[in-house]
Symmetry: C2
Subunit: 144 residues, 2 copies
Amino acid sequence: MRLSNLADYAVVTMSAAARHCGGGRTSAAELAAETGLPVPTVQKVVSKLSAAGLLRSVRGAGGGLQLARPAAAITLADIVEAVEGPIALTACIDGDECAVDHTCSVKPHWPAVNAALRGALAGIPLTQLSKAAPREPNPSGISA
Amino acid sequence: MRLSNLADYAVVTMSAAARHCGGGRTSAAELAAETGLPVPTVQKVVSKLSAAGLLRSVRGAGGGLQLARPAAAITLADIVEAVEGPIALTACIDGDECAVDHTCSVKPHWPAVNAALRGALAGIPLTQLSKAAPREPNPSGISA
DNA sequence: GTTAAATCAGACCATTTCGTTCCGATTTTC
DNA sequence: GAAAATCGGAACGAAATGGTCTGATTTAAC
């Protein structure tokens, strides 16, 4: 129920990269300096993000990386899926069967839950995360 | 982004226990036989569910356990919270600070995401999971 | 009152996954 | 042509989880 640290770091890294979108290329070392994360960790995150197509990497000296898509077109769901794989609470949905072949009555209900969860994450674009102050003027419905 | 196996087993166990609600007491061994899970695993799950107040255990010979609340009043969120702890995607919300003291711009946005996730799980009561056939007449929007 | 059985509860150990780190391949600039 | 800087992948170590076992407690029966 808690996403991995890598996914968290990926969100932070993408948020930092979004600010450099206008400036052009950025390096992993620079992102590490801005976010305060270890450089190797940022490299690993960048690798996954690049493989997923969210980040475009340019090799060579003076190279760097930049967002492959506009910040508004990248959501939390995209970042999480890039690092964590498909958004599924259980492994039985992801093609892998349960260890026991019991007639799992709850198995058919997971897709709906997964879809609801993914929808919640897909509703937060990257542009929203770049803002310093969040937009939660109506916290009444939020009990967090 | 994927809940632990214990939480999955807890959901299955609670679903099985819900069917025995009318029959009165049930034992962990019986639930294990019905679900196909190992007996010790069910015992561990039952322990956590009892500690959370979702399941009432009766010690001694002829004892057993039964739902502490009506099945309709128990949701997926309750079961997940009983096993996994508070529903929070990041540890920074749960009182623990991030490893780095960077000005995390995404931190203020997690509560809204957590609330949305919890709401999705709270909308699935235990009675719904007991049904053999799920209610997913419109799988078009689900890409799982 | 005593014995016996059945239950849950907690603690221990092995396994897997995740996180971190390091080294190599590739590419551009001077 | 050489050098420098970058990303990409692989290996190691650590932490958390999953599974298992043994023990304490309680009830029922004799």
